[in-house]
Subunit: 578 residues, 2 copies
């Protein structure tokens, strides 16, 4: 039985099952969403108009018992960047789709009128329900309600108030194992694309599902054994290792030490106060408060970098506070207080937004004089403006660049309209090359040069050396492949250093597909995906000038290194040449 | 004595006089501003950052007694379009610069801190004054104050509250003969560029000026005699002709009749109620109220299409209500009341904005649900939000596309981020070709195909025929030349039909320059200017995909013709090929 596509036509409120075409059968995750978007979405269409689509696809091995493989990709034309977008999340939602043998969901058309709908997917098919009663509500409450109404076994994909506002900063929220709306395909505003179709929620119940078809069970089994061993052996990914013990926020102290932790809207790269919001402090607090740490974001994760952050006494559980979220809402806004950061992160999840875009937006609003830097209470109030759908909220919900323009700020840390994550490219050049050249806009996960430049994974590189095209290219290519398998990108820490682990990934993919891919095929496959994405962007009007960092980073020096971004345009243009 | 450039360095608060370089000596107006911008402004710079400049230049014959030649051009990189911009106005400001033999003013650098300055230019030199006392004030009051402080003989260029907010919709305001701030280089947000340098006003007193150097007085005299005769003979431009009697708003009934007068944010092309705000009605009212009609926007204009609109009893004089302003604030918002339109236009002038961009913005805000269509009082209140610098005001002041995004509207009538004027390109295809391909963004004055398609000037053309590349190209080329001479574009109505008039223009330019240009040189010169502008835009990241109308115009039919915009992309791309 081949995998299916569910084609959701919102004009007619129909959800039709189609066989996954032959040409898509070896694809999953990002490889599949980007290919479908490139095949079906006109690159010049208005992102919120009738011709855009949202595509969801679990990875190739998602739904199997492969370790740390519960990723789901979401694709479409981004209202934030104007280019192609893939954002992915770790959640059991993708695993259930995988077990139901659903290769992709394609949401197209626009429902006339103002009604919102919920799509319920089970082993028996898909059906629509009116979702108007949840409009204007926070997702923590709504996800609780949905589980009350449809049972605890469902997985949920939803969009929040930010998407109702059609915000360029609106993500797709997925549940964590506790049912909290804390797992996000957050970047690039695909939540608004889904909302503009008239679709607010997708819920999946995989009761009775046939499970992922594994064409070569033996090979698959060998493969995941190799990968499990590599993950268990590597210092970064092993139980008791850095990610497992402290979560991603272990990086706060490390990146601050390097001088690349942006403070006060990218005006300094270091501040002693950063240690107050470090991963170490946070892990300690979680222990005291009775949250959870370590914690898996989906069943079957062996890395378990996640957590459940709560208020003191275990109240108001948020879900994970990732490094990039802590940075964006913390040091970048000169807020050095975990409770405030936790409250902000919860509000952002509740509204259905991206933490990185939001933190950068708040910092730019601070620079524009809307509130003072360091004003945590003020920041929380700004998010309430979004909840109340006020004009201020409508500015903020459209992200960093939009907010900068509204408040006359010119130091705007964005590429292709998407705001930069937690690493200043003037202090760590390779990640800047990724920000500049990724077809996704400024995105650390697109080619995580930090691994090599700071963590010594996959070799080492001087962070201030501006020749980084090759490093970024290799990482972007490998990432495009990992994002297609369904494995969490964090397996890369292990498999970049342990070749047996990498072989295990290939074996497991071959096992599921009944294919004969080798290690040598990885660059080709990754390049194909990137080429598809970059072609889309070109057809949408992008040029090499869109592969640049903002002007201020070439002119304003960043303390303490006092470096500007000095990677040449030629170096940037050498990353991809299609 | 060669003409001078005044180079205004706002970092140092210095205004230095330089000789106009040899290579610029045959240039004026748009030809000069676009050349200097292309030579001195990095195309990728942030429009409001340190590297952008504002360039002002009177036309070649401006300041002489050539008829209808009081135009001044303003150039820079536009914060609205992201490309090069030239906007021009009819005012005695340019005439005084011409008589002072100032070829151009180049404003560069950014003053640190929040202070604003005024630059006073006389025959003795230029000096700065602090202008903080006028910050936050409406321009009608300020212009009155300035004339009180510096004398009635000064001419004023100023930017208002919209520019203080760094709005993409902020123009440079110039005085009319009554001293009202009603003459605008309004399009494209150059007001914000000037304000972001720290400069708020330029005042010019030409007492003791040597006058424009005329190298061949005899030829010049012959030339202007030919032009005066042509203007006096042509039905459109003659005394008692359409423009003189009714002003530009004579077009309301004509374009409504054609089905191309956009109503309700470009959703219909005709509405019987439009006649309530026609030029005929307006002329009648002005007579009753004791305003002025006809009226010259600057000394020496023989067409005299201008007027002074007032409230009943002659109160609160506005200045002219142009056709495009009446349309933008009227039918496009379903407001069919001249008093409301007059009040809106006065508030827009007072804030320092572009009427077209503002009207389109209000209509999009209406579609987004901020107020109802037809709600004139609500529209006036929206402008007060800008005056009060509220978040709603900060949205609106950034123009139509920005406002559409903030309020989730997808029917956004813009090209290159600049909103469309008063002619729907689905009903009148040639003007759509100009909107799409002009390097300025949607701009009717860039290549006024209406002349031929509707008015039968310069030949005739079926308005629904989609082969219009050649018509638009020829008009854009001719316009680039006219905009450089300093003559008002309205002389084109006469000289397109009367070749002796055209020869008069060339003679008068040759007379001033001591040159030997012929009619055959016009296309070459026009093409050079356009090529300079289009090269700048390419270097700023524009592609042929920026030469397109918005998606909805290709999909939504416009009643009553029920046509979409069906000019092919190939036709659009054939307009310019550099």
């Amino acid at each position: 039985m081949p995998k299916k596509i569910i084609r959701v036509n919102m004009n007619k409120l129909e959800a039709n099952y189609e066989d996954l075409p032959e040409k898509y059968q070896a694809l999953g995750g990002r490889g599949l969403t980007s290919t479908i978007v490139a095949d079906e979405v006109p690159p010049t269409c208005h992102p919120l108009g009738p011709n855009n689509k949202v595509v969801l696809a679990p990875g190739i091995v998602t739904g199997t018992n492969a370790p740390s493989s519960g990723r789901i990709s979401v694709g479409g034309k981004s209202p934030l960047t104007g280019g192609i977008k893939e954002a992915n999340a770790g959640t059991d939602f993708g695993q259930k789709l995988g077990r139901l043998r659903i290769g992709a969901i394609i949401i197209e058309g626009q429902k006339e009128g103002d009604d919102y709908y919920l799509l319920k997917i089970t082993n028996d098919g898909a059906e629509f329900k009116n979702a108007n009663k949840w409009v204007g509500k926070g997702l923590y409450e709504v996800y609780k309600d949905l589980r009350k109404e449809y049972g605890e076994k469902i997985s949920i994909c939803g969009v929040g108030i930010a998407a109702e506002l059609r915000g360029g900063n609106s993500g797709l929220s997925f549940n964590d194992p506790e049912g909290l709306p804390s797992r996000y395909a957050g970047r690039g505003g695909l939540g608004a694309v889904m909302a503009s179709r008239g679709l607010k929620f997708i819920i999946v119940d995989d009761t009775g599902a046939p499970g992922v078809e594994i064409k070569n069970a033996e090979l698959f089994k060998t493969g995941i054994a190799k990968l499990v061993k590599a993950l268990g052996d590597h210092d970064v990914t092993k139980p008791g290792g850095a990610l497992n013990t402290y979560g991603t926020a272990v990086l706060i102290n490390i990146i601050n030490e390097s001088g690349g932790l942006p403070q006060r809207n990218f005006s300094r790269g270091q501040d002693d106060r950063s240690s107050k919001v470090s991963g170490e402090e946070k892990a300690e607090e979680i222990k005291k408060r009775g949250g959870a740490r370590p914690h898996a974001c989906h069943p079957g994760c062996v890395i378990q970098c996640s957590e459940v952050w709560t208020k003191p006494g275990g109240k108001d559980p948020v879900g994970v506070l990732e490094y990039e979220s802590v940075w964006a809402l913390g040091p970048n806004c000169e807020i050095y207080d975990l409770d405030t950061i936790g409250e902000l992160n919860r509000a952002i999840n509740d509204l259905g937004m991206d933490t990185i875009e939001t933190g950068d937006t708040i910092a730019v609003a601070m620079e524009g004089g809307l509130i003072e830097f360091g004003d945590g209470k003020g920041a929380i109030k700004l998010l309430e403006e979004i909840r109340k759908k006020t004009p201020t909220g409508r500015i903020l919900v459209n992200g960093t660049e939009f907010t900068g323009k509204a408040f006359g700020v010119t130091r705007i840390p964005t590429v292709k309209g998407q705001s930069m994550p937690a690493y200043d490219p003037r202090a760590i050049k390779g990640i800047g090359v990724t920000y500049a050249t990724s077809p996704m806009g400024a995105d650390h996960t697109a080619g995580y040069a930090i691994a090599t430049e700071i963590m010594g994974v996959g070799g080492t590189a001087d962070r201030l050396e501006p020749k980084k095209a090759e490093l970024s290219r290799n990482l972007q290519v490998a990432t495009a492949v990992v994002d297609s398998t369904g494995y969490c990108l964090f397996i890369a820490f292990a498999i970049l250093d342990i070749v047996e682990g990498l072989q295990g990934v290939v074996d497991s993919v071959n096992g599921v597909l009944g294919a004969n891919l080798t290690l040598d095929d990885i660059p080709t496959i990754g390049m194909q995906i990137l080429e598809t994405e970059i072609k889309f962007n070109k057809a949408a009007g992008f040029t090499s000038l869109d592969d640049r960092l903002p002007e201020f980073m070439k002119e304003e020096k960043l303390p303490p290194d006092n470096e500007v971004f000095n990677v040449t345009d030629e170096e940037l243009d050498s990353v991809f040449k299609f």
